[in-house]
């Protein structure tokens, strides 16, 4: 197999990779604030809010991400909410990301030293300022490594969008494979592209976690 054919195929996969990365970005834009909201809900002193959040998180985690994708893409149009394939994938995966990451975000919030809240209150900050300007920024710093881990998992999960015909990396590889009949070569190439991004990213996340651990933040 000539090497330039491989390079050409790799080039053909790149727009798909770009779309996978865009999908990851959009799902994080949906998932991170929602995950933070869930985390706050899980800590709520109001019982109803707490139990409703627990139920939503458990249901979103208990249903396969692929089924969530189908609920949004094929199901929601039935109640007059029609999103295109890309947005459906971003919404479904974003909700799933939020459910899984909420536990990490919650423990991040718990890990902020209580003295910080007391200081904020002593300075007469309002509750909103106390949370958004004192607690949350420090919590986010603590949870960056685990959230990066989840982001890498969801970058890979964007491959599920194949099932609703989003032309992301795996879909492009599949289409290209059906044109050339080089199924193994091209699909394995796509798999290697996923690994080439995920593995260094997770090594980076690990080193970040270790560095944090040593400094003790």
């Amino acid at each position: 197999m000539p090497a330039d054919t491989w390079v050409a195929w790799l080039g053909d996969l790149m727009p798909g990779l770009l779309l996978s990365l865009q999908l990851t970005g959009v799902l994080l834009v949906i998932g991170l604030p929602l995950g933070t909201l869930f985390a706050v809900g899980l800590k709520s002193p109001v019982r109803v809010i707490k139990y409703v959040t627990v139920a939503v998180v458990e249901v979103a985690r208990g249903i396969p991400a692929l089924v969530l994708l189908y609920i949004v893409y094929f199901g929601l149009p039935q109640v007059e909410i029609s999103l295109d394939a890309f947005l459906s994938a971003a919404l479904a995966l974003g909700v799933s990301f939020a459910a899984y990451s909420s536990a990490a975000i919650r423990s991040g919030i718990d890990a902020v030293h209580p003295g910080q809240r007391e200081a904020a209150r002593a300075l007469g900050l309002q509750r909103g300022d106390e949370f958004f300007r004192v607690v949350l920024p420090q919590a986010m710093k603590i949870v960056t490594p685990p959230l990066l881990g989840w982001a890498i998992i969801y970058f890979q999960a964007t491959s599920l969008a194949f099932a609703i015909a989003v032309p992301e990396l795996l879909s492009r590889a599949y289409t290209l494979a059906t044109q050339n009949f080089q199924y193994f070569t091209i699909l394995a190439m796509a798999a290697v592209v996923y690994a080439a991004i995920s593995i260094p990213a997770s090594l980076f996340a690990n080193s970040l976690a270790h560095r944090r651990g040593r400094v003790g933040t």
Partner: protein, 219 residues
């Protein structure tokens, strides 16, 4: 909108989903043994090899593994049916995760236990079989059960290569009706409903094992 309408039709996929999950888990649990042993080997080469395997399994999405096995192997005239491809693919993946679970289990056994066994001049086989493994099992079981439940949900990706599981049946039902929302919500409910008894059974087994082995090896 009545979720119950679709439960009987979806139920026919439950057996496939459970069989797929159980077989993949079994394949993974077996392959994981040499992987876990290599991962904590004295030889650097073996450690790197096992570490590389685990990273690869984590770095490539499950659906890509299934595609390579189901469509990719056709290039070499190897035709697997979709169920076999899914079992092999999910088995390869779970081996990586289960190997890490085994390792966590063995690391959780205090080194004093091994030292005591060697002071009593137990053979290495007896040490492993009657001292280390039972104590490791207490750590391994809850993690393995949590992984099994995760795998149950991950097995839904096998629908993409045509395995007749809960998700595939939901997709084909929804193509013949205008009630997609109910059908997919019902499918989601089925996954939730089968996870719950698995979790209960799992924690029951976990408790039994902890009672049986934990007391005798109390520290």
């Amino acid at each position: 909108m009545n979720l119950l309408t679709y439960l009987p039709s979806l139920a026919s996929g439950i057996a496939t989903t459970l069989a797929l999950t159980a077989l993949s888990f079994a394949v993974g649990a077996v392959i994981a043994l040499p992987v876990a042993m290599a991962r904590s080997s004295r030889f650097r080469g073996l450690r790197l090899l096992a570490g590389g395997y685990i990273e690869l399994v984590r770095g490539i999405p499950p659906i890509a593994w299934l595609f390579v096995l189901f469509f990719g192997l056709n290039q070499f005239q190897i035709r697997l049916n979709s169920f076999t491809a899914a079992v092999i693919g999910l088995g390869i993946i779970s081996a990586g995760y289960i190997a890490e679970i085994y390792r966590a289990g063995f690391n959780a056994v205090p080194p004093g236990q091994r030292e005591a066994a060697s002071a009593l001049s137990l053979s290495s086989r007896t040490t492993f079989g009657t001292v280390v493994a039972p104590q490791a099992l207490i750590t391994v079981l809850p993690l393995a059960i949590a992984y099994f439940i995760g795998l149950l949900k991950d097995s839904a990706v096998a629908s993409v290569i045509g395995v007749q599981d809960i998700t595939t049946i939901a997709v084909s039902l929804s193509k013949r009706s205008l009630d997609s929302l109910t059908i997919f919500l019902a499918a989601g409910a089925v996954y939730l409903l089968i996870s719950i008894p698995v979790a209960i059974l799992g924690s029951w087994i976990g408790d039994r094992v902890a009672q049986k082995w934990g007391a005798r090896h109390a520290r």
